[in-house]
Symmetry: D2
Subunit: 306 residues, 4 copies
């Protein structure tokens, strides 16, 4: 049973509804239509395809399939139309009822969510991203205390590459039969810091058309993406919350905004090198992981794919 | 006595040589030639001028006088010739034997030290700097535990402005009667993180002339600045240490390099937005504060100003 | 308004119902029957008496009045009958409709809650208590990060005395006109540790009658105190939760048990010096502070004092 | 080479003298007389005996052999005469030139060092010990950050048993042919806390003869053990440092006392349950581990066993 199989590490007790769930082997003999994948990437590749070819809808948080040309990389607020590639995917892979949908890397989600409306209004050509990422993202046992205590690790394996490659795909267009990535140069630098939950990103952006700070704030505040159309139960009321204080967002104070599903943006100001800069915060185990996958599943259902 | 006046917070016992020092009021009646100033900036302005006008050489770690046009802002390895302004300073301020010399802000020191040789060889036009700064810099009591525990504060008062304004002054030239700042756009974003000692900077740089990564590494490794000339006792053997590992520098592992007086640079790689990027680490209470002031005093002596 | 007056430090957003509350001066001109006091002890003494003498029911989390002979020190599960002293209090202090009720110190609450059923069944003569207390208890700004980071402070002002004196009062009897403290020797040693929320107590106990470990577990599990009688809305379903794992309770994993209102006990085992020992965990800002006061107010209402 | 084999985690750079040491397989073909053992206990048993039977003096920090009746468990300041059992050990085990000497568990060392002089003057019958132990003791990778961040773990495997059993052996007498353990009841409760280095112990003691607090302080301050006799180079000037402040010892402030080889005792006061109580601090990776083994090796040499 789940309660025996799981090393529960959250600060709320395990819900009773979960405690007595059966834990089954990872073989495609489950009595359900949708499966969620959070297995580690080396095995994810094969397992996810096995389930999809056996008729399951695979909603994956793993990185294995994200950059495949026929697999959608979805943030419901940003690019729900990318689901349209599913038909090509089924044909190409000879899937019948099954298919694979992925959500982005934990730092890419908040970045793409915030860049999306800016791109829409002003265009973006360049972004420099520095992340300060929490320890709860790396699975258990994850980071040894001796490595992160009184310390910062200035790298996370493959994370910079993921941010730099996934973001253009998400911000790009579905061209009818393939994805056309958005033309943007992204340079990412990632850090692991001693914070329990909450990734903070410091981002400088070059826009194609000049934008003033107040316009940017207004556009971010007003952003609802396509989410309103689908009325997804897990969607936050506001995907982006803009704060004006000089010292926000902060992980501990802002990570639970919108039940952990909102992205909080602050310190929006001019950048003397590119055009503007800002701080972005997101809850890395909610919006960036389980919550992202669930929202994708809700979108898949709302759009009639189930 | 010092042992009674001081709330000692270091993890090494207070040295006996310090315990029994007398603590005197801050009035210019001390029997010495050089005074060190680390008073907080609002009062530093007046106190430092009072001592200078009474014939003392004031070596200051405070920010009050750093940007004054007639006051040198010195890193011995970088701009020792800026001390030449002292004559103008004395004339202008009507000082007799006294004068004021300052050292830069704690994030500016490592930044300027690393940019100096790059500027020398390639020229620099732009830099984007994101800092992750330790808690030990803010004086005691400093940051409340409730603010920084499991958290990041995405701002430190006036810190971004200091980095952006001090660096051009340090990298600039002494033009015979005034400082000519170096023409560079710097955009800084600062964070306080839960690390005891050690500031980490993530920096992207645009060079005037194209530079490849190996050249940059070679130049940084070979940098000794003007320090060899003066043979200062407190100077580190190598002002800049370059590391090639994928996860260095780290505060806990690298802050004590060169007895806390070296700057450690790592992750030097191409930046797809500007030209190259890197991570810089420095011990914020040694190289950035007390150690900086002492090294300046040694330089002043070596150059014959005492 | 509250949102302007308050430095909100919790990791959940300030509830809307609270944001727009008016903040008034601390004078007895409020339109209500019950006031909660969490002012610091030096001023609490006077303010609480001022409100009580003006007809308010003062439910206090401050320590000022706790040990007064005519003021009840209440844990609803343990000693609700101590409220009976209110009549004497009113007469002695010449109060009309007002009176003062206090809740214990943050380490005393979990200790007394767990000792109460043990005392009832076996009697207790001695207890040695070592606490590991979270940083969130000391108010804001509270503990400086420089003091507690990578550190432990082996004392908290007056805390040991409070544990040693309050516990006998709570476990004692109301003798018709005065409190008769329970005869027990308690020796407390307190520590501040770098945990955000959750006090952990290590306790060794000498019982009057020999008790085996299984009996003690059974009695703690079965404890409901007098709480069932009053059906208080804020009371946890189980005041005491017993865990059998070798490494529980832990602050992050157990502090929110029973919505932060339950006390979690684990590692119950024989003590080779006294009789048995155990670990006790409690949420210090819920059960130990605001939650304690609210539960007391609910009890006061349930018993008809309002 | 050592620099390649070792994941160096200290905040001082690896000394050059160590970087280029050869790393050899763990077989008894080394060209030396003394070997230090810090292998994990399951394999230590066999390896240590293999080396001893091949003529090496094995100075071990592992727990495997500590409680063997013919193997000395040594703290040079406390029981150097226990080395006398080496002759019996050699005969019993048929060793020629080799033998095994161990040092105690990390929490036992400071406890036994402080109890030793108290026992000598007053006798001790009981002690209750609560430990707050640092993360650096568990080897690498050791404790996962997710387990200890914002948390306390109220147990460490086998640690309580080690404290309770090793202390009587160390405080006991060498009876000419065997050890006679000291008659004392010890009850230990251990915790892992988020401190990098430094174990803190809270200890209550019952003495056989009544002792007042000032006498105890005087005896602890005056303690030099047998160390003076042997003039060991690694021995601290004062094995025990007594502090009188209300909030000392603290791990970060006191762990490096005596170059990490002294034990710091504070908050010595009456205990209302036993007789007196105190806080004890020790550097867990110096005095408790490598430093303990080196000091034992120095003692072995000083006493002519090499």
């Amino acid at each position: 049973m789940y309660k025996d199989a799981c090393k529960w590490k959250l600060d709320v007790p395990m819900p009773d509804s979960v405690r007595h769930l059966n834990v089954s082997p990872t073989i495609p003999e489950l009595n359900c239509r949708v499966v969620f994948s959070a297995v580690s990437s080396p095995v994810a590749y094969e397992i996810e395809e096995l389930f999809a070819s056996n008729g399951y809808i695979v909603v994956s948080n793993a990185s294995a399939h994200r950059m495949e040309p026929d697999i959608p990389l979805i943030i419901p607020e940003v690019n729900p139309d990318h689901l349209n590639i599913i038909n090509q995917q089924k044909i190409k892979r000879n899937y019948d009822r099954g298919f694979i949908v992925t959500n982005p890397n934990c730092s890419t989600i908040p970045l793409a969510m915030v860049l999306a409306p800016v791109k829409e209004h002003f265009g973006i050509s360049k972004a420099i991203v520095t992340t300060l990422q929490a320890i709860s993202v790396a699975g258990y046992p994850g980071v040894p205390a001796l490595d992160i205590f009184d310390n910062i690790i200035p790298n996370i394996k493959n994370e910079e590459e993921k941010i730099e490659s996934e973001t253009p795909k998400i911000l790009g267009k579905y061209g009818g039969d393939r994805f056309i990535p958005y033309e943007i140069d992204i340079s990412a630098k990632v850090h692991r810091v001693a914070v329990c939950d909450g990734h903070l990103l410091s981002v400088s952006v070059k826009t194609s058309r000049k934008a003033d700070i107040e316009e940017i704030k207004k556009i971010l505040k007003g952003f609802s993406g396509y989410i309103g159309v689908y009325n997804l139960p897990g969607a936050p009321e506001k995907p982006i919350i803009v704060r004006n204080e000089m010292d926000r967002p902060q992980p501990r104070l802002d990570r639970n905004a919108g039940n952990g599903m909102s992205v909080v943006v602050g310190r929006i100001q001019l950048c003397s090198v590119l055009d503007f800069k800002m701080s972005i915060l997101v809850h890395n185990t909610i919006r960036d992981a389980a919550g992202a996958a669930i929202l994708n599943a809700e979108l898949i259902k709302a759009k009639g794919y189930v």
